[in-house]
Amino acid sequence: MNSSFHRYLIATRYALFDHLRNHTALLLLVAFVPVWDFLFWIVVPDAPLSFLLRATHVFLQVNGRDLTLLTAGLNAITLIIGFMFFSSTRKSIAFDHRLILSGYPQSVLILAKLSALIVVSAVVSLYTSLVMFAFWRPGSFPLVWLGFFIIGLTYGTFGLLLGVLVRGELEGFFLIIMVSLLDTSLQNPFGNPIANQDFLKWFPSYAPMQFVVGGAFAQTPPWLYLLYSLAWPLAFTLLGLAIFWWKTRAGKVRTLPHIMPVEASLHGHS
């Protein structure tokens, strides 16, 4: 097997192990998502609500409770995946630096982190979509999943960026929670009657919300918004990985020509 590909497989596998062993995140995923959805389902009235779908420039008349379930799903994914990637990146940056000093290519580690992000986002968004499915059947399940997947990528890359930027664990968690709440709650006209305001289109969850609502309620999915929704994860990725690269780059050391390796006996005095 090619050495770089072998290293990529190992790094991806261990990055996934790292997330699997984040028991708090797994517990949040398994328990928090259904409870979160259930609470919204019983609290929010089953009443019509207007939602501005910008792809068609029309106000859709949708069920407020169903729309809120979509917002709840988006919100849950942002919190869980943001937390997972912030926690993992912050804890492993010194270890990653040691691996790089020992010869692991930076580019391979970066690629492995992004691959783990894609797998985790796919699984978490699928689970969240399935939980929501228990309460309500949206127009298109795959499109809702795809929108949830993109918001997973967005907050995963946001977590990655905070993981390389923020030193304190608590500061990072608070930032994720506050940004997520502000971002996702303002998109829902149930909580924010001015959800059709122009400035909201600059928020990270704006385009995924438009896409998810289009997929769940409208006949034509707004594919252009799927493309727009990649802008934030792309920006977070570029910024986060540039800082990761800067922090873990090898130092100013000149390596001179190689000489024969050392063969030390371990058993001489044992």
Partner: protein, 217 residues
């Protein structure tokens, strides 16, 4: 005289207004055991991090030859991976064909029963053994160790010094940061890092028997 495996040339490093290194020059030859001592905060760990390539100096050069093993003072491991997974990860990093040397080190340092345990569940001493194994498992020609025995019991501590003298005999250059007075006789060359520069220090006659000749006999 053979070519040095490590050369530090006029290294300078400051953190804000605090000048830590102010023109450090020295070299390490193959088959030598070199120690660096100094007060707390003298800049020993900063110097080792620069030599390992973990930190950049403000000025000056580091020249290295051959494969390097680096054991940082703070244990740098991934708590969510097992011992075996760490060994596999670093095998891939060093691009070495097998784990024969790592297996020997695990046996030698006496933590073979923990190979499948998660690192986060290991004691500080066992984590330190793994920290050291990761620096040695690829048969480096140059070893940079920052107080690598913290948390070791006495038996492991003695094994550690046997291992270092074996490595020296086989031609490896070993650089160790030390703060213990009675260790200083172990070194061929001893430097004192003070006020940002290195001074060659005359070997100190220890008050107690040398480690390798003392307890085991």
């Amino acid at each position: 005289m053979s070519e040095p495996l490590l050369q530090a040339q006029d290294l300078y490093k400051s953190f804000g207004h605090r000048k830590v290194l102010q023109g450090v020059n020295f070299s390490v030859q193959p088959g030598t055991l070199v120690g660096i001592v100094g007060e707390n905060g003298a800049g020993k760990s900063t110097l080792l991090r620069i030599l390992a390539g973990e930190l950049r100096p403000d000025r000056g050069d580091v020249l290295r030859r051959g494969a390097m093993g680096y054991c940082p003072q703070k244990v740098i491991l991934n708590e969510t991976l097992t011992v075996n997974q760490h060994l596999a990860y670093f095998r891939a990093a060093y691009n070495i064909p097998d784990l024969q040397r790592a297996d020997e080190l695990v046996e030698q340092l006496g933590y073979q029963h923990y190979r499948k345990a998660l690192v986060g569940q290991l004691s500080g001493g066992t984590q330190q053994k793994l920290n050291l194994t990761l620096a040695l498992m690829h048969r480096p020609q140059l070893l940079l160790l920052d107080e690598p025995y913290q948390g070791f019991d006495w038996e492991t501590y003695l094994r550690f010094w046997h291992l270092m003298t074996d490595l020296r005999s086989s031609g490896c250059a070993v650089l160790i940061i030390s703060h213990l007075f009675f260790e200083q006789k172990q070194f061929d060359t001893l430097y004192h890092l003070q006020h940002g520069s290195m001074q060659l220090q005359a070997p100190i006659e220890p008050q107690i028997a040398s480690l390798t000749g003392g307890k085991e006999q």
